[in-house]
């Protein structure tokens, strides 16, 4: 029996327009699932039930009048990194645990105008810093595939929500892999667009030259559906790109024969054998559709993780200076002077990983170290970006694993930052170079999902959706539901 939560966003969209069910019905259904299933997952921080039902009612009226927009009536959960007017926006941090945003992020505004119904705000690693959703002030998020395991991070709450089918889709952000890695660990389609494709206005900044907003959905088609309305120039964001947004949904069914797929030597070196097998099986699906495989090498790619861990902390150390207990956010009790106000509000408001990255960033920008660290890292960044550009002269897309392992135990990696950082080894390169990239489910190891990563050149979103969609026509991994959430 097909339940509402078995349907993809596209199917729900179609059903709403055919009046097989209403937006209020769908919304009530998911709100009930959230109430029942979220406690074990801890994926949602704030549920906006009343607001959602009111929006659903408005949506039904529009649908009835034939005035529906692209996404009218479809439920969504927003990662708690997006400012939502009048709704608590915590960024997973004690620092913002009392912060009711006075405005909507552009992304939230656009999706709202397109008609979505916001169910709530998803848990996340604090200030988007983490790969396991274990650094949140609100506690760790559990992976619905195995509640003892992490869902990945930093968009762990968004991923767990969609995987557990307590929402058909969620927005998320990706700075070093924070959409793709959780997608791989929870069996979802996670999409990160080209840098500048989606507005960053209202998205609480972690690393400004790396952050991008994207989606966690059940299918590539759903991602295309959302991205069609999310993408586009925003005058309020100087880094927003002013080029037209193609109809991503219309481009989904292009044939894939002749597709040139590059396999990164650096990704396959030392890859865990079962993981390597699943990836190769996925590639065979493409070969059967007429794609050709090529080996390519990005010699500077192994330096992407150390590069990232200089650049991202540097930017975040500055971006997080505004959290000082003066105009909003957490303020310590009885500050005895200004210095005490700053130090204790920030010392108490921020968790350990955030403090670690702020200090790393402060150090690499400081006098005497700027050239040796920050400047050097920005130069290596250019080398990596140039490597990708050269590869894309020979191939249309790059493919490989998303994450080195499937989901690991909660608590397994918290003690050593480097071990945690290496979870991003395959994903970081695309952020440094600003490239669009996604992860789609391609198998399971020991019952836990594994993801195939697809990376494209700048502004190749349509191609990526098309390539992923083709795979999803021929396979069933994306349809699997974790036990207990059917």
């Amino acid at each position: 029996m097909t339940e509402l939560h078995h349907l993809t966003l596209a199917e729900l969209n179609e059903g709403l327009r055919a009046r097989r069910f209403s937006s209020v019905e769908i919304t009530r259904h998911f709100l009930a699932r959230i109430e029942r299933l979220n406690p074990a997952l801890n994926a949602v921080i704030t549920v906006t039930g009343e607001q959602a039902l009111a929006a659903a009612q408005r949506a039904d009226r529009l649908l009835a009048a034939g005035e529906a927009g692209d996404l009218t009536g479809l439920p969504i959960i927003h990662k708690d990194i997006f400012c939502t007017d009048g709704v608590l926006t915590t960024c997973g941090s004690r620092m913002l645990s009392n912060f009711v945003a006075p405005y909507d992020a552009t992304l939230v505004e656009r999706l709202s105008q397109a008609g979505v119904v916001m169910l709530g705000k998803a848990n996340m690693d604090e200030f988007a810093m983490g790969s396991s959703n274990e650094t949140s002030w609100y506690g760790p998020v559990k992976n619905p595939w195995d509640l003892k395991k992490v869902p990945g991070g930093s968009s762990g709450g968004s991923a767990a929500s969609v995987a557990a089918r307590i929402t058909p889709a969620a927005t998320a952000t990706d700075t070093g892999g924070s959409i793709r890695q959780p997608a791989a660990l929870t069996g979802l389609t996670g999409f990160k667009p080209t840098y500048g494709r989606v507005s960053r206005y209202g998205m609480i900044a972690f690393a400004s030259s790396l952050d991008q907003a994207g989606t966690l959905t059940l299918t590539a088609k759903d991602a295309a559906l959302l991205m069609r309305d999310m993408a586009g120039f925003d005058a309020k964001d100087s880094t927003s790109v002013d080029t037209p947004v193609p109809d991503y949904v219309a481009a989904l069914d292009q044939p894939l024969n002749g597709l040139r797929i590059g396999l990164l030597k650096e990704f396959f070196d030392g890859l865990e054998p079962r993981m390597a097998t699943l990836i190769r099986e996925a590639l065979q699906v493409y070969e059967r559709r007429g794609a050709k495989l090529f080996e390519v090498s990005l010699p500077n790619l192994p330096l992407s993780v150390p590069t990232y861990y200089v650049v991202a902390p540097a930017e975040c150390s500055s971006n997080l200076s505004r959290f000082d207990g003066v105009r909003f956010g957490y303020r310590c009790e009885n500050p005895k002077d200004l210095l005490d106000l700053y130090k204790r509000s920030r010392g108490e408001g921020f968790g350990a990983e955030v403090k670690r990255r702020i200090m790393t960033g402060t150090y690499v920008l400081s006098a005497g170290y700027y050239d040796a660290y920050y400047l050097r890292a920005q130069k290596v960044r250019r080398l990596i970006t140039d490597d990708f550009a050269r590869a894309f002269k020979q191939v249309d897309v790059l493919m490989g694993p998303t994450s080195p392992t499937p989901a690991f135990d909660i608590g397994a990696k918290v003690d050593d930052p480097i071990t945690m950082y290496l979870n991003d080894i395959y994903t970081i390169g695309a952020n440094l170079a600003g490239l669009p990239a996604m992860s789609i489910p391609c198998g399971k190891i020991d019952g836990l999902p594994v993801g195939l990563q697809i990376i494209g050149p700048h502004f190749a979103e349509a191609k990526l959706f098309n390539v992923a969609h083709g795979y999803q026509q021929d396979t069933l991994w994306h349809k699997e539901i974790p036990k207990g959430y059917e």
Binding site: P102, G196, T239, S321, R346, K355, M359, R382, D416, I418
Partner: protein, 96 residues
């Protein structure tokens, strides 16, 4: 690369972060590990390379027209402030 306790205290001060006595050695350890890790960058041949501050090479800054678009919304914004008096944000006295 090993950081000393003094290094971490200085950085914490620059970044305005209060670290407790117990936490300090933990940070010294983890930060040292991080800096050892990023030393890998020293091997890269960057002699003739320009630093990359933005991932899209051709992007240049857009300029907006000089227009006032905002009305006074201070009451709304100040609802989030920990301490406000007479529409001013209050902080412990600043000595010049």
């Amino acid at each position: 690369m090993s950081l000393t306790r003094n290094d971490v205290e200085n950085i914490a001060h620059l970044a305005r972060l209060a670290l407790s006595e117990e936490q300090l050695p933990v940070y010294v350890d983890s930060l040292s590990k991080i800096f050892s890790f990023v030393e890998q960058l020293n091997g890269a041949d960057i002699a003739a390379v320009e630093p990359m501050a933005h991932p899209l090479a051709d992007q240049v800054q857009r300029m907006r027209p000089d227009e006032v678009l905002d009305a006074d919304q201070h009451a709304k914004y100040q609802r989030n402030a920990p301490r406000v008096e007479a529409d001013l944000y209050l902080v412990p006295k600043v000595i010049e």
